[in-house]
């Protein structure tokens, strides 16, 4: 059953509110999406009816909570087509997932002079964790160039890939440009030189069907809050044999099988990586978000977003002095731009006054800003609940802002 646009919109309570006396137009979805009532209800229901600590209680509530939490893991595994649920580790988000890999795999395999290959379009979350472990291990960071239209430069990639490359860390979709990167082909090439492939899926999971086995990713990290789920929950996928061989991350309860004062033996996957009481409510909310995406249909989501992206892009082309940043042929729901002689910040302030939430600034991708010789952009990013009418409202508001500012 296909949901109508108004079915979808009415699932999001926050979309009914006003901002500065105007109906909210929320175009900051790449930073964080809003939450459907199904997700809000799932969390509410969990706390009202099922909460207890998991995995250790024999009593009914503990078993219910455990079951719901583990069901959520299964839902994530199916969502990204992992081979098994034990390959899914719940984290706080993509950032934690990437740090986990850097501090475990990185610590285990990196030696002095080894190279970690990243790209110039990475979010700081897929750069800084690598810098940290590189510094500790004497490894070197290299970065794939970005072409003028915002694609990964495949020549540069080939040139940088070598026997020294131990880890290739790349975003599936750029949060600033919207570019969908050819991660499957790049993973294949990286595997040929023996590198591990770590993919930042923070911006892909809300928009595209992700199949980690098809991509042949070694690790894949994402955040719940960008895909209609709650904050404070995300997941890291890792191939089972790798998760089995890398050391644990956080020591604590839940992640051990036997502890004496001298030493501990670690628990099986995935618990080995989930020290401490996890975010059960978050995982259960994420499960509801995945159900929402499945019922809405990811293809439908990306069709809606593509239509909005095209509509805004075409409208911007008619405004004098607009410079689009990121015009790759394959994009997912992001339009980034600048206006000659006008600061992005000023535009953001005026749009906010008109009820429109966009993001201005460097979007945590400073190396990419340096690549384009700019300080920031104005970014509109879409979700399935956005409408063409909202795009029209934004274009009118933008014209008004530019009239005031120029």
């Amino acid at each position: 059953m296909i949901k109508t646009a108004s079915d979808i919109r009415s699932s999001f309570p926050i979309l009914r509110r006003e901002v500065n006396g105007k109906p909210l137009v929320y175009f900051d979805n790449a930073a964080s999406s809003q939450k459907p009532i199904q997700v809000i209800n799932a969390i509410d229901n969990y706390y009202r009816n099922h909460h207890a600590n998991i995995h250790r209680g024999v009593h009914a509530l503990s078993q219910e909570a455990t079951m719901m939490y583990e069901d959520a893991r299964l839902a994530v595994a199916e969502f990204i087509n992992a081979e098994s649920a034990s390959e899914i580790i719940f984290t706080r988000g993509a950032t934690e997932g990437i740090n986990l890999v850097a501090q475990t795999l990185g610590r285990q395999i990196l030696n002095e002079g080894d190279e970690i290959l990243v790209t110039f379009m990475e979010h700081h979350s897929n750069l800084v964790p690598w810098q940290m472990i590189a510094q500790e291990k004497g490894a070197v960071i290299k970065a794939v160039e970005v072409t003028e239209d915002g694609q990964l430069d495949q020549e540069s990639f080939k040139n940088l890939l070598s026997k020294r490359t131990k880890i290739f860390a790349v975003g599936h979709v750029s949060n600033t440009l919207g570019t969908i990167n050819p991660v499957k082909e790049m993973a294949h090439a990286a595997h040929q030189v023996g590198a591990y492939v770590v993919i930042d899926g923070a911006q892909s999971t809300p928009h595209l069907k992700v199949d980690v086995q098809n991509i042949d990713a070694d690790f894949y990290a994402a955040s719940g809050h960008k895909m209609y789920g709650p904050t404070g929950i995300g997941f890291l996928y890792g191939k089972k044999n790798l998760l089995n061989t890398i050391p644990p991350y956080h020591g604590g309860g839940e992640m051990i099988s036997r502890v004496s004062i001298e030493k501990s033996t670690y628990a099986e996957l995935p618990f080995k990586f989930e020290g401490g009481t996890p975010n059960m409510a978050g995982a259960i909310g994420l499960h509801a978000a995945i159900d929402f995406i499945r019922e809405t249909d990811i293809q439908h989501i990306s069709d809606v977003e593509e239509r909005l992206e095209n509509k805004l892009t075409n409208a911007l082309k008619n405004i004098e002095g607009i410079r689009l940043i990121g015009t790759a042929p394959e994009k997912a729901g992001v339009v980034s731009f600048l206006v000659d002689g006008v600061s992005a910040y000023d535009v953001g302030v005026i749009l906010d006054q008109l009820g429109i939430a966009v993001r201005t600034g460097h979007h945590c991708t400073e190396p990419l800003m340096d690549r384009y010789g700019i300080r920031g952009t104005i970014r509109a990013s879409f979700a399935v609940y956005n409408t063409e009418e909202e795009v029209e409202i934004m274009v009118n508001a933008l014209n008004r802002a530019l009239k005031m500012l120029s």
């Binding site: 500065n20 910040y345 953001g348 302030v349 005031m404 500012l405």
Partner: protein
């Protein structure tokens, strides 16, 4: 020793009064923007790292100069709204005695409803700007005392 033309208190009152005529936010912003555009700003050579106030989203530069016991400021920003707001700050603080600048309580921006309209990271930038002005005043004050 020079005398300020007006006290900071008087100027803050004036600003609040000027803005009380605007009912629509749009008019307030028009005013700020026009004010920002009318400020002459700083020559490129003064837009240095040293003179930069680190706000999150837009650059603000501020320089000061002592003249006859009064501390004068000039500033610039690459965002016009920021520049306008900074201009209001300078209208209050520039041309005053360092000791007064350091102790004056700023309330005018709050009162005209600008604080509320500025995003949190911008508000931090504004705070940083006010802090920098006050620190410059304190530094000059300390220098004055040392020189007796």
């Amino acid at each position: 020793m020079g005398e300020p033309m007006k006290t900071m208190e008087e100027i803050q009152k004036e600003i609040v009064e000027d803005f009380s005529f605007f009912e629509e936010w749009m008019d307030k912003y028009e005013e700020i923007i026009e004010f920002g555009k009318s400020l002459k700003g700083l020559p490129e050579e003064l837009k240095t790292e040293e003179n930069l106030v680190r706000g999150c989203q837009s650059n603000v530069w501020v320089v000061s100069e002592m003249n006859n016991g009064l501390l004068h400021f000039e500033a610039d920003s690459d965002a016009i709204i920021t520049k306008g707001i900074v201009g209001l700050l300078l209208r209050i603080f520039s041309g005053q005695r360092p000791i007064d600048i350091a102790t004056e309580e700023l309330y005018a921006l709050d009162e005209i409803g600008l604080q509320a309209h500025l995003s949190p990271n911008r508000a931090n930038g504004l705070n940083a700007m006010v802090n920098k002005i006050k620190l410059m005043a304190l530094a000059h004050r300390a220098k004055e005392e040392a020189e007796g």
